[in-house]
């Protein structure tokens, strides 16, 4: 839990509180396969000039004069009596940008607010990206763009600091934020949008297309509290819209089923729009552990990449 992490004990710098060690330990074994879907990763499987543990084996090629004898695969020679040299693929150095929704509606949640959950998620993603050698950046927004940290290999601490300062206070408008991001980005990369997406799904299409046209790969984390999905309230009370202050007295028992249909339909429609725009949609339930969310997501991306390779080989 965040209250028990190292940051709360005052031993590490700001932003580190979001890096749940347990989550990172489990996610760390996944490497950064998920980055494979990013074009920079797909196209940039450039040969790394460096040797080391961070390199993955890619293929064998016949030895030719001039090659470093230390790169000869002697095991392959034992099996085939031919000299092969190992080729390695290094991680890509792509831009990884988090778009973090700081609108007031994100401040909702019983056990953990969507805002806190999203900040943990953003921190984990940024940390992992940096661990894989990517340049990290962040853009926080509500009704306007609040903080922008450009992508850089040295900006992890700044990104974490920005995440730490992000507080949901005002009304949100991330269509504006996406448009602003599209105008800022000149280099393609990986974009992770973290929001509750209280927007008409069709309004997402245009800014996403703009990002895609630049060459970005977009992941959308659709963060919702279980209460938003199920409307579990009982009795008589009044709901107050956190962003418009509109109030609505009601008895939810009478509305629950209708509401669930509407929210499910909304989520499905968002997923359809994102998929059609080439983005990935992940519905994040804040009642689920954070690492589990990342784990499942990255597994899914890995699986998708694998399927994509097989499809291309066949």
């Amino acid at each position: 839990m965040p209250a028990e992490n190292a940051w709360s004990k005052g031993r590490v710098g700001p932003g580190a509180q979001f890096l749940d060690p347990v989550a990172l330990q489990r996610i760390g074994s996944l490497e950064l396969v998920a980055r494979g879907v990013v074009e920079g990763f797909l196209q940039g499987l450039h040969r790394s000039p460096f040797l080391g543990q961070s390199m993955d084996f890619a293929e064998h090629r016949p030895y030719s004069p001039g090659d470093d004898p230390r790169r000869v695969d002697w095991k392959a020679y034992a099996r085939t009596e031919r000299y092969f040299v190992k080729e390695f693929e290094a991680e890509t150095n792509t831009n990884f940008t988090v778009l973090l929704d700081c609108s007031h509606s994100m401040d909702f949640g019983e056990q953990i607010s969507k805002s806190d959950y999203s900040r943990y998620l953003a921190a984990c993603l940024s940390f992992l990206a940096r661990k894989q050698g990517d340049r990290v950046g962040i853009l926080t927004f509500d009704s306007e763009v609040r903080d922008v940290v450009p992508c850089s290999a040295r900006h992890l601490e700044l990104v974490l600091l920005t995440i730490d300062r992000a507080r949901p206070e005002r009304k949100g408008d991330f269509a504006l934020a996406l448009k602003d991001l599209a105008s800022r980005r000149t280099r393609k990369g990986l974009v992770a949008l973290i929001s509750d997406l209280y927007i008409e799904p069709e309004d997402l299409r245009r800014p996403l297309n703009q990002l895609r046209e630049i060459g970005n790969d977009v992941m959308v984390f659709h963060v919702l509290d279980p209460a938003e999905l199920d409307l579990p309230f009982t009795g008589k009370f009044t709901l107050e819209d956190m962003e418009t202050d509109e109030i609505l007295p009601l008895a939810p028992e009478q509305l629950r089923e209708e509401y669930k249909k509407l929210i499910d339909e909304h989520v499905a429609q968002v997923a359809r729009v994102l998929t059609s725009a080439g983005a990935d949609h992940v519905l994040v339930d804040t009642s689920r552990p954070l690492d589990q969310t990342l784990f499942h997501y990255l597994l899914a991306r890995q699986e998708r990449k694998r399927r994509g390779r097989w499809a291309s080989l066949s």
Binding site: S105, M106, F108, E110, K114, D196, Y198, D225, P226, A227, E228, D230, P232, F233, T234, G235, K236, F237, T238, L239, E240, D241, M242, E243, T244, E246, I247, L248, P249, L250, A251, Q254, L255, E258, Y259, L262, I263, H266
Partner: protein, 736 residues
């Protein structure tokens, strides 16, 4: 047996029951407020609007509506109705009771006021619902303090706010105010309860109108026999001129009233706060003495003076008598009358020569043949029942008037209009006609008096009705031409002032006094004599002030008044003129103009409070407490331009008392013979009839007691509503 309501107007409060119904319909119970990220999906659900229009908490609604209905019904005071016969008895016994309370200065003596208030409260305690009660207080003026009400508590509360003032007593004024209430009442029993110390002068000096038929007159006497006092009743100022300087000799009149009053006292004259002189006085019972002090050489400005009495014990007796000594001009009058022994004017001469006020110098002529040189130097010419002069004398007299002199023509038997020169026609305010003979046993009285005219201003307010007491047996008819009606009514004022104007009429409408302005002077015509041949006017006290005021006005002279009495009406414009803020002779601001005028002057009282004289809007001022009042212009550094001395009504010190029984006989509508029973009731204060009906009324208290139970029921319902609405209910549980 049905139900009626004492105050059915409160039933309109039943409309309030719609309020909780509307609230239940349009505002559902909100319960706990929960912040939710977005209502964009919930807004789309139509079921909300249907649920808003339904009443879901019927018990709560019924409790609220029921409580409101019970409260409205309780305030409407439901009464169980009696049968027809009983109801008739009750209707006959319903009372309209008017408490008439004396709050004159004399009620301050001893514990008279406290006893009067106790008597009033005892009367109120004797009332039975639904008797109506009201409260009238009077001193020189009667005023209604509490209009008729079913709630005696309102009258009782008002008693706590009233204290005796400094005014005189006019019992008749209080009875008049009470009569207005009783005559407007629909109650079968109308009772007037008079609580007073019954000063005799309080009845004799005021109006004496009888009460309406059917009024039960009850008296409560709180006076004390045997009390008396020695007081300064008056101060006159005798003006004289020595070596070109005016000197004034104050003369104080001290009276002793009552057997118990002290016999010896020191009379102390104070000038500008410093003791100037002291004289001893010793008086027998009901005795009086005039104490003359040394003459004072007047400074340029007025002097504030007072005379007070100090008893042998060192205690002060009564209020100091305040006055202002100011320089005065001598009024020069030429009195033209007939041959010696004929048309002698002893009353007129006496009235003009009386000490006090503006000093008057009178010169008598036996012929109206006057030259311009002879007329010069006179402020006023009085032609007292002599033929009007003709020829050169007429021209000289008319020129004298046009240049600012005054002329008073007194018509009598020697005034034969046929012999008057035609040159006097347009000069006089009317054409004199034949002599009218009135019934010698009744005569005529002054019925219509222009109390807005400066001559009669002092007779406004209570006590002014003395103008109606003289009887006139003969007078000349006077035909006053109608003033030409201007095309534009707004232009009427100037011409009205200059044209003939009737100031007083007899009861048959014939003019008694008329006025006309000629050039810079004034002509006044009195159509009867000023002796006791054609009237008994000179025999009445009102003769002296009327003659003084007529002469002052005709001569355009302002009398320097040394003091006023509490509640005496004062014209604000008069104060402004006397203070020199408005030049004498200049048209004073009209009342309708005062709203646009800047503040011209303030009247600052002894307590430091100020009154804007410009904003008086034409109303007369009545100063309510004794002391020195200063007329100041605004922003003049606080310097007083003129000082007014105000004294309490000294008549209040008169201990002579009126027998309440005598008063009851006097106010009886049918005469003394028929009022015996009423007077008896008045003395005892008991009701000798309607006992059964009173018993029914007292039973009515119990029949009206339903309001208590209704309020109790409402309280129970409201308590239940509080418990029901505040009960713990599941609010906004979240699913884990």
């Amino acid at each position: 047996m049905g139900v009626s309501f004492l105050t059915p107007l409160f039933l309109a409060g039943l409309l309030a029951v719609t309020v909780p119904i509307i609230i239940h319909l349009i505002r559902r119970h909100r319960g706990k407020i929960i912040q939710f990220p977005s209502l964009m999906f919930l807004r789309q659900l139509p079921i909300q609007s249907v649920r808003r229009r339904s009443i879901r908490d019927w018990p709560l609604l019924l409790m609220r509506v029921g409580a409101l209905m019970l409260i409205a019904a309780a305030f409407a005071r439901p009464v169980l109705q009696l049968g027809a016969e009983e109801d008739g008895l009750v209707q006959d016994a319903l009372r309209e009771v008017v408490l008439v309370l004396d709050r004159s200065w004399s009620m301050e003596v001893g514990d008279r006021w406290e006893r009067a208030v106790d008597e009033a409260r005892q009367t109120l305690n004797g009332l039975v619902s639904p008797d109506r009660a009201s409260l009238v207080v009077f001193d020189g003026v009667g005023s209604v303090v509490v209009e008729p009400t079913l709630d005696p508590g309102r009258v009782s509360a008002a008693l706590d706010t009233i204290r005796p003032g400094w005014g005189g007593t006019q019992i008749g004024a209080g009875l008049q105010a009470a009569s207005g209430i009783l005559q407007a009442s629909d109650r079968s029993r109308r009772e007037l309860v008079l609580i007073s110390d019954f000063q005799r002068r309080g009845w004799e000096d005021g109006p004496r109108d009888p009460l309406a038929e059917g009024t039960v007159f009850i008296t409560r006497d709180v006076g004390d026999d045997g009390l008396g006092s020695m007081i300064v009743s008056d101060v006159t100022l005798e003006h004289s001129f020595t070596e070109g300087r005016q000197r004034v000799r104050p003369v104080a009149r001290v009276i002793r009233q009552g057997e118990e009053a002290a016999t010896r006292a020191e009379v102390i004259l104070q000038l500008d706060g410093q003791e100037a002189e002291r004289e001893a006085v010793e008086l027998e019972s009901e005795g009086a003495a005039s104490i003359g002090f040394n003459p004072i050489t007047l400074p340029a400005e007025g002097v504030r003076g007072s005379v007070r009495l100090e008893l042998e014990s060192g205690e002060a007796s009564g209020e100091p008598f305040r006055f202002v000594v100011s320089p005065s001009e001598i009024l020069s009058i030429l009195l033209v009358e007939g041959a010696p022994g004929q048309n002698a004017a002893p009353y007129l001469r006496s009235a003009l020569g009386i000490q006090g006020g503006t000093p008057v110098q009178i010169e008598t002529r036996r012929t109206a043949a006057l030259s311009a040189a002879e007329l010069s130097g006179f402020d006023l010419v009085i032609l007292n029942d002599v033929p009007l002069p003709g020829g050169a004398s007429a021209g000289a007299l008319q020129d004298h008037v046009r240049s600012g002199g005054g002329l008073l023509v007194v018509a009598g038997p020697a005034s034969d209009p046929q012999t008057w020169s035609g040159a006097w026609g347009p000069f006089l305010p009317g054409r004199l006609g034949e002599v009218i003979e009135r019934d010698p046993s009744r005569g005529a009285s002054l019925a219509q008096v222009d109390r807005d005219h400066p001559i009669f201003t002092v007779f406004r307010g209570a006590g002014g009705s003395g103008l109606g007491t003289p009887r006139f047996f003969r007078y000349h008819r006077l035909q006053v031409p109608e003033p030409a009606r201007p095309a534009d009514p707004n232009e009427a004022s100037a011409s009205d002032d200059d044209g003939p104007r009737v100031l007083a009429r007899f009861d048959d409408g014939a003019p008694a006094l008329a006025q006309q302005t000629v050039g810079a002077g004034r002509v006044l015509l009195w159509t009867s004599t000023l002796d006791n041949e054609w009237s008994d006017f000179p025999l009445h006290p009102v003769f002296l002030p009327v003659v003084r005021e007529v002469v002052q006005f005709a001569a355009a002279s302002a009398e320097s008044v040394p003091y006023f009495t509490v509640a005496q009406p004062l014209d604000p414009r008069f104060l402004l003129i006397e203070a020199g803020i408005i030049p004498r002779g200049e048209a004073p601001p009209e009342p309708e103009d005062t709203a646009d005028l800047p503040v011209l002057g303030l009247l600052v009282g002894p307590d430091g409070g100020g009154v804007d004289l410009t904003a008086a809007d034409g109303n007369l001022l009545q100063l309510s407490s004794p002391g020195f009042y200063e007329v100041r212009p605004p922003g003049d550094g606080g310097a007083a331009r003129w000082v007014v001395a105000v004294n309490p009504d000294v008549r209040e010190a008169d201990p002579a008392r009126l027998d309440p029984e005598e008063l009851a006989l006097a106010v009886a509508p049918g005469g003394a013979e028929e009022s015996g029973e009423m007077a008896q009731n008045g003395l005892t204060g008991d009701l000798t009839e309607g006992a059964d009906a009173r018993a029914l009324l007292e039973d009515g208290e119990r029949r009206q007691g339903a309001w208590r139970f209704l309020l109790l029921g409402a309280l129970v319902l409201l308590l239940g509503e509080t418990l029901l609405s505040g009960r713990k209910r599941p609010l906004a549980k979240q699913v884990a």
